[in-house]
Homo-oligomer: 345 residues x 2
């Protein structure tokens, strides 16, 4: 059995304690300075404050001040911070991780370089640390609640070194948590990041129907399916553009599917689809961290730069560019369904 230290006690990081404990590992869950209450509450009650689930028995809980102690002798670090915490993790946590201990991130997202190049977090970490630690990330459709409930879940671990990935799979695979492995880091992470933008795109149709028939009406699926198909088409074009393997579209499609049915991104897409301008929609969702918006904007920015550079065409991305307009507060135009059609010879 191994020692697994999870840094970041948000919902996804904390949910990873479930397969880790079920496999008999020692689990240390460290809250960041944002997770103080979560750790205090978990110590007292054994429950996760925001996920509202009982955590497995036997977890050791740490506040951020005890980080060094929590990392001492560990075999694996799970990075549970959101994309907003990436630099904090790099500055504060990484220097304390012993050499060659692998770091596996649940963080979903990408960085955008000045020239529009998209950079997955594992590659960013790897670059910033000069290869001292092997970094990997988790992609694929997985909501924290359902992982904590031990629902059947299929994910992908990606990283540069297949042998490291195989070790991680051996540590964390259970009869409900199934792990594919891929060295196509850019492909998996790009697919995962894109689902944020496209889940907004598909759920516009939920709001569109509500605008026509009233909130609480029977949903219509032709428009959602049209947007879903268009999303798959545009995601495949982005993957091809960045040089990712074609196989990653599987993670993108699955992840898009699960994101459409859950939480904050669906809610925002629905509000925008009803015709509510972005600033008002954001107010209605106040207090919620809109990571998906930040990631969507990065993707839109990168694609826009590639269009300006002539390496992509705007006719390939009518949905993404429409989402971009809505996120800039524009509500004048309807969903450009007519521009989704094409004629292939």
């Amino acid at each position: 059995m191994s020692i697994i230290t999870i840094v970041g006690a948000g919902m996804m990081g904390s949910a990873m304690s479930v397969p880790a404990r079920d496999n008999g590992h020692t689990v240390r869950l460290v809250g960041t300075h944002l997770d103080r209450e979560i750790i205090a509450h978990a110590r007292k009650t054994g429950e996760h404050l925001t996920m509202q689930r009982r955590l497995p028995e036997g977890i050791a809980f740490y506040q951020i001040e005890a980080l060094r102690q929590a990392l001492n002798g560990c075999d694996l670090v799970l990075c549970g911070v959101s994309s907003f915490g990436v630099d904090w993790f790099l500055d504060t946590v990484v220097p304390l991780i012993p050499d060659r201990v692998p770091v596996l991130a649940v963080t979903k997202g990408l960085l955008e370089e000045q020239d529009g190049t998209l950079l997955p977090f594992p590659s960013y970490y790897q670059h910033q640390t000069g290869g001292r630690l092997p970094f990997g990330a988790i992609g694929g459709p997985c909501t924290s609640y359902e992982l904590a409930d031990r629902r059947q879940t299929c994910v992908a671990f990606c990283g540069e070194d297949m042998r490291v990935l195989q070790r991680l799979k051996a540590l964390l695979e259970t009869e409900y948590y199934h792990i594919s492995l891929s060295t196509d880091v850019l492909g998996v992470e790009c697919a995962v990041a894109m689902k944020n933008a496209y889940a907004l795109g598909v759920t516009l149709a939920v709001g569109l129907i509500e605008k026509e028939d009233g909130i609480g009406c029977t949903p219509a699926y032709n428009p959602q399916a049209a947007l879903f198909g268009q999303s798959v088409k545009e995601m495949a074009a982005v993957l091809e553009h960045v040089g990712a393997g074609a196989g990653s579209i599987v993670y993108g499609a699955g992840d898009l599917y699960v994101t459409i049915f859950g939480g904050r991104t669906r809610k925002l897409g629905t509000l925008l689809g009803r015709g509510i301008p972005f600033p008002e929609a954001i107010q209605e969702l106040s207090g919620i961290t809109l990571e998906s918006v930040v990631i969507a904007n990065r993707l839109i920015s990168a694609v826009t730069k590639a269009i300006q550079a002539g390496t992509l065409s705007d006719t390939q991305f009518p949905l993404l560019l429409h989402v971009g307009k809505l996120l800039r507060g524009d509500t004048n135009e309807g969903i450009p369904f007519a521009r989704f059609t094409d004629a292939e010879m």
Copy 2:
């Protein structure tokens, strides 16, 4: 304006009268011998008996005896029969269609040749008639109810001749019915047919959760998304195997999405997912034409033959082969989630 004759007054054929009439065409709707009541009811009330929607004004309704008259001088024939009516259509209707009048079929499915080759209906028609008429078919996510309600819908017309397809698009495109064109007939029709098998596969997860938590419980999406991603992976492998263009996966993914949320296939998949054996599930769905089962079985048979011939591997199709077992009445095994994982270098 043109004369469009729809043969087959089932729901999808009849729904096509909506864009046709909205574009000002003369529409003649001909019932088969199975549609006698539908035609009589529509004449009397203007409503479609099974779709329970008001049909557009100005349609001329014909019983099958007046078929010749309904085809007289028409510019386009829409074939609205199900896959069970394909040979009837070929024997009874096709000989009466004037030379060079295009035929566009809403029929979804494929034929399987003895050696496991999959044959789309337009190619079958084309072959059987020696090229006397141009045949095309409609793919992509479109439920008849929602088309009749003029919901935003994106479909694909496929056929061998792009100029014919362009004419058909000009006849039928509206501000809610958007038409892509493709000469990849095998790709579009294969994608469309596969969604029947894989919609059964994805909705197994609905039944699985109901078995665990009780009917009416909150759905869980990690398992559905895992099955959705696996479906996309397996569909892409079939498309590659038959030599279809990679672009068709877009229609497959969109069509799979819409089928998961609607009607008979979802119901059967849910019952099978609860562990109810196929013969009992079929009894519970009595009176329903299970076209999707017939098409799923054809696909499974074709893939099985390719596996036996060594041109495909069983490790590529754990979900399809599992659905095949369930359709043969086997209920011993759970969904093989663990076999969905892979390790790509």
